[in-house]
Structures are given as C-alpha cells and as structure tokens.
Assembly symmetry: C2
Homo-oligomer: 485 residues x 2
Amino acid sequence: MTEQQKDTLVTAITPQSEDFSRWYLDVVRRAELADYTMVKGCLAIRPYGYAIWEHIQQALDSRLKATGHVNAYFPLFVPESLLSREAEHVEGFAPQVAWVTQGGTEPLEERLAIRPTSEAIIGTLYAKWIQSWRDLPVLVNQWANVVRWEKKTYPFLRTTEFLWQEGHTAHETEQDAQEETLKILALYKELAETELAIPVVDGQKTDSERFAGAVRTYSIEGLMKDGRALQAGTSHFLGQNFAKAFEIRFQGRDKSLEYAWTTSWGVTTRLVGAVIMTHGDDRGLVLPPRIAPYHVIIVPISRGNWRETVLPKACEIRDRLVEQGVRVYLDDRDGYTPGWKFAEWEMRGVPVRLEIGPKDIDKSQVVLARRDTREKVSVPTEGLTDRVQTMLAEIQTALLAHARRFRDERTRRTDSYDTFKEAMEGRPGFVVTPWCGDADCEASIKTETQATIRNLPFAETERPRHRCVRCDRPAVVYAWFAKAY
Amino acid sequence: MTEQQKDTLVTAITPQSEDFSRWYLDVVRRAELADYTMVKGCLAIRPYGYAIWEHIQQALDSRLKATGHVNAYFPLFVPESLLSREAEHVEGFAPQVAWVTQGGTEPLEERLAIRPTSEAIIGTLYAKWIQSWRDLPVLVNQWANVVRWEKKTYPFLRTTEFLWQEGHTAHETEQDAQEETLKILALYKELAETELAIPVVDGQKTDSERFAGAVRTYSIEGLMKDGRALQAGTSHFLGQNFAKAFEIRFQGRDKSLEYAWTTSWGVTTRLVGAVIMTHGDDRGLVLPPRIAPYHVIIVPISRGNWRETVLPKACEIRDRLVEQGVRVYLDDRDGYTPGWKFAEWEMRGVPVRLEIGPKDIDKSQVVLARRDTREKVSVPTEGLTDRVQTMLAEIQTALLAHARRFRDERTRRTDSYDTFKEAMEGRPGFVVTPWCGDADCEASIKTETQATIRNLPFAETERPRHRCVRCDRPAVVYAWFAKAY
C-alpha cells in the first residue's frame, strides 16, 4: 500500500450531508469502534470503542456509589414462568426473547429466557432478602449484558446483545421510590451533559412508550446531528406492580405486612452511538475529553534522524503529561507520514494533537491542534501540562455549548400541524407542540409524520392555551416530538 | 427477635472441623456473599460478595493495562458451526453448552451456543483484524459472563454461569506467544499473593488437564483449609491450533503468509471462593484488607446518650479515615447490641474493628481489634490513621504468611505410594512425588486415591532419581498431587 492510498483510506468517509447513516457506519468501522460478527445483530466492541464505554462506566459507577448504590450480579437466565408473572411485562418482552431450550446434552424441562432485563429474576431474590422496613431501601445496580431479539439492528444504537447497567431499588414508601426514580434521571442528565457533552431533555414518557410493567417511565433525550432524537437513558417508577408479582413484602413500622415500592433504570452502550452522532463531523469522530481513550496524540515530525533528536523529547513530554493524569498516545510508528497520522487521529476523534519537530525543539515549543475547531497554536514547552489541561477543559465546554446551540436551533415551537409536518421533513429536530393527551392522536401523528413524543419535559410547566396540534380537542400539555432512533 | 436470638444467629456457623463444606455454605449465606436462584446452578452474587470481586477486578485490570493489554467485548453467542471448527475444542466443550434455539417468535436456523469461552468467536474477528506483522501483537482482554452446564455446582467454585476475564492474544512468533503465556501466569501468581494473600504453586498442567485445543496449559494452584487444592487461574499456549481453525493469518516481515501464534488465559469469580476457603475460620470470613469491601468497621458503644456523645466522635474518625483512602463503615444501627455487631462483622471478615465508647473518648483513644488474630489494643486517636494503615498492611502480610505456613505444613514429599495414599485421607494437602509421565498411571492414581496432578511446578527443576511413585518405570518429573475442587 502506498502512502497515497493510506491517506485516501483515512479520509474516505461519506460526508454527513450526503448520507448520515453511511457516515455513521463509516466512522464506526474506520475508527475501529465496533465490528460485525457472524451472529446477526451482535456486535464486537473493539478496544477503542470499549475504552469509551469504560470511561462512561467509571463516571457513572462512581456517581452511583456516591449516592449509596452498590453493585451486584444476577443470573443471565430467567425461567419462562418467572418472566410471565407480571402480565404487562411478559407481553412487552416475550416477542424479543432468545430462548435456551437445551443444557449440555439434555433438553430443558422449562425454557430459559436470556434476560432482556432483570426485574423478574431480581424480584424473586428481593422477596427473600427484604423482610422488614429496616432492610429498606435496597439500592442495587448491576453491569451486565442483555439480549433482545431485534429485527433491524444498528451498531451501538440497537443490537441484539448490548451492555448496560440496570439499577433495581426497593423502598418503604411510594414517595421514596418516586424520589429515587427522579434522582437517577437527574443523575443521568448530569452525566450526559458533564461527561458526554450531550445536552438532554428530561421528562416523562407517554403511556405508549412506558416500560412494560412500569407505572411511569422517564427519559432523557438527545438530538443527533441528523435531527433525529435519541433516548439516552430511562428511569422507571414501578409502583407495587413487581412487588405484587414477585411477593416483595416487608413488615412495616406499624408491624403490618406491606408491598415494597420499586424502581428500575438503565443506560446502555447506545451512549457510545450518541457521542458519535452528537459530536462527529465529516472528518470522523470528535470525542469529549472526559470519555476519550486518549486526550492527546503526540505526532513526532519524522524527518532526518528524528528517532535520535525528536523522539526522546516527545517521550519526555508524554511522560510529563501522563504523570499529571493526561491520557496520551505517542504515535512513533514507522511507515506512516505525519500527514497520514494527523488524518488518522482526527478521524479517531482525539481532542488534542501535539506536533513536535526539530524546529519546535529549537524554539522550545510544540504545536497543539484542537480536534473540534481544528485551530493550531504554538505553545512553549514550559507550562505545557497546564496549557493542555486548560485546552481539554475548554474543548469539553465548547462541545456541550455547540451541541446545545445545535439542539436549540433545531427546536421549533408551533401549534400548526402544517408547520409541524414541514418541520419533520429532511433533517428535522424537536417540535414542541400542544397535545391533547390522547394515545390515538399520538399514534396518528406518528403514522402521518413518523414523529413520536420523546417525552413531556419537566421544563414545560405551563398548561397550553391552544388546542391539540392535530385534533380539535383542548391541549393538556406541551409535548416534544421528534423522529427518533 | 431477642438480642439473645440475634447473637445466636450470627455465631451459628458449622465449625470447619465438623464439616468444612457446611462451614463454607454457611459463610457464603450468612455473610451475604451469594444466594441461590430459581435457575439450577446459577448464583446471585450479593453486594458484599460482588464488592470483593470488584476489588479483585480492579487489581487485575490495572495490572493488565500496565502490561499493554486493552479491554474489548465480544458476543455472548457462538454459532454451532464456529464452535465446531477446532476439533478438540468442541469435543471438550460441547457437552457443557447451553443452546439457544429460538429467537423471539422464530426458531433459529442454526443453534447458538452461549459462550463457554470465546476462542471461537474471537478467532473469526482476529482473522479480519490481523493482516500484517505490524498488527501484532494483539493483546485483548474481556470481562464477561460465561456458561458451562454443570451437573454439580458449588457457590463461586463451580456454577453454571460465572464471571471471568478472558485474555486472547495473537503474536508473530511462537516465542512471543509462549512468553505472553508465562508472563500472564506470573501476573496471576503475583495477584493471588499480593492481593488475595493466597500462596500459589505455578507450573504446567499434564495433558489430561490441558485446555481443549491448547498445546500447553499452565496453572496456579492454592491449598484450601480443608487440604484440597484449588485451581485459581490458567494460562494457555494455543500454538497455531486456533489460528489454523479460524484462519488467523498475516503477512510476515519476509512477505510470506503465516499463521499467528495465540494464547488465552483467565481467572474467574471462583477466586472469591478461594479467598473464603484460604483465610476463613470458625467465626466466618477473614478478608485480606486489599480486597475487603470495608477495611474498618466502626462500632460505637451504644450506652446512655451515645448518639449525642459517642456518635459525633465516631463520625469524625470515619471521615478522617475515609479521607486517607481507608474503606470504612460506621455501624450506627439501633436495635443491635455492640456485642452482636462485633460478632456480625467478625463473621463478615472485616480486617479491623474500631470500638469507641464514652471512656475511650475521655482518654482520647479507641480500641482496635484485628480480625485475623483477634488481638485488641487501645490506641490514641492522635495518629490513628497511620496506625490503622500500618495494621492493615500487617494483616495483609500476616495472612499470606499464615497461609504459606499452612500450605508448607500440608505439603509432603514422598516416593512411597503407601505414604501417598495415607496422606490423601482425611484433610490431605499436596503430595510431591516422582512420576513417570504416563497418563494411564496418572489416571490410576486418581481412581485409587482421588488425587490428581495439580501441576508440574516450575520450582521443581531437578529430575527425580527415583522411580514413579506408583509404577515401576523411571520417573521423569516431580508432580504435585492433591485432591482438588
């Protein structure tokens, strides 16, 4: 392969404007985030993609622990009879279940579902563990794989198997459980904004999008660069539905036997897809520093006897940055030009590129290039670490601001159905509109425009004075509609 | 429930000398490490048990990353045709596979194995990812669940589903792969000794215990308190077997097309079982500080108006310890006596108990009690954090030394089969003995004594001058025999 060909390979990503979906698939493949396997809809998450997930995990796990949650692990298998105990739950999930029917050489007496979610198996255990109000609250989370047999899959966003965390809590009172549900939603929102630089709309789902078996479902919703919304996390208030189905009862403070109030909530590896689609551009990935596998890529300018002159200085700089907690990769590979490396690491979304050549060393400086703005600046090696850390913080802030501006520009308020329909063509966005609260009306809007209610945002506190955007009835709420992933 | 009854509940653990297996099951249940579920052989790992696993994970993960390994994630499902590609591999694992035969509402065209291990699925991906010697080595690890349909299960040690890490590496040369195999084994040994305080014997497995499809398997073996050995980690040199089965080929430095050399290696949640059985005593768990969920349990002496007098001081001490990275739990629950709490947290194996009462406060001191020796000592609150950290380090060292002494006392060298057989009765241990190298002889010894060759330790460098312990042929090696889990 010639240098020329290599250059072409790196840069040949379908432009977003030409075909967003092709762009996305190109980035996933070229940046080595994930790969298809021989099992339909099952993805291998490659090290570079998995490192992003690990940073998201750590950021969330520490937040969960700081708020009193602990991790545990529950079985992968859910006997069919257990899954069926909560009627709405099994109805919602059964069509998507992968079934184990044989163990070793023997056919099984009862089919085992690969968990599509773990309320059922966890419910039976909570019934054993929870006896008294003193045992409450139970605040447990698990990091696990789940399987939902999907007809149409898409890397990270919708795969047959995916990784997630699922929190399952049990409480003494309805109010405690409701508070937990909302506390977690707020935590998800803060995580998305602080770590992933994704601004999200938090609110309640309508009944049509409620988790199977829940009383209320809440979500956070981001807006991707093609104008489609993406549900980035959900938190469910389960009431006493699962407690009744699985007999989770406790002796209350007044000695009476009561059903517990439970919640569940989760975010998944689709967050990696959300990051790609929120920040990426025609050159490839753009990663928020806080979850980037590498903060800084060092590219030594490989001229003359650079291995003797430039490389030692580059190593010294790397070591100094690493010491201060900066994640650095020094690309000292032979056989690739600096230009090829620039393009390669831009495509892989590394927030800051540090270039160093013989002339820079003479001047005791290096060149820093920002991935998001592509600005280049020469900075003295003296005080470099501080400068890099400041730049990383600036990038993190800028990405969130940029995404928020994009989201706000793509959010229209209207009470005209014509304007609504028009907005949903091409690269849509959110449309905020008065809605009557009727599920049939919601379904008709979906049929006619492909738009669904993402949620009823908490921020929409005013009761609409207009009529429903589609029907003639009085509106009860402002709903945020969008075409969604 | 009276205080009396509560006291009884905590302490009612079957003594080790009476029935070691009952003792183990009692500890697992009472310390809330794990619980049975409705699915045969599948365990729920409860938060206290899972926290131990998390500390083991973190300790190993940081070591793997420091040695250049990266994490990734591969699918749970392995199509039957893939699993069958390596003949010896499928023969070894097929009898233990759980099979998915239905996805959603449709029967599958091809059965999917729930991964019993991931060589097959990873092999097909490495075949795509590895093209040139420049792509090597590939040093990938995954943290995952696996399923092996076991007839007889035992918490942590042998369960149908378990958690593990599995490393899968590919190399340019045979020597590189062999070095990786041994590097990881050494890392496992260091992990077991440094973190778990479990002394282990490292060496090569005989053919009868070789991983299905491997050229050579190495293991580390610990000795449990009942005198039975436990395999605590394995590392496999796979030669080119899997590379040939899955077409993992690369263009070498001389442009020729070559098969890669691969390795795989893993440790599992059985390490939690190993910790319990290595250090536990009749009072319950004894946890090495480095992997203990809590280093210190603070028990305020609850007399009089202790909530106003003692508790604030206890909180202050907790905060000071936590600030210095000590993991502390302050048990300020009402309705339990200090004595009950002492027994409870001893049973749960917390390395250090800190007692504080009104008299201690008067004297500006606290009482520290070591779990391993049960020694109690009054220490001034001034300089407490240093004192606690020193004590934790001492406990960690003492546990390893204690376990090593136990292991050494239970390791006998003999070339007499009568002595061998006698040693294998009751609470056996290791027997080091000359062996002819013949698999049939090894099998006969197993039939006659239940002892198996745990491994051929690296430390046994001398060629035996005696004949095989059982048959009349010349011995070729010293083998370490034991009854094993």
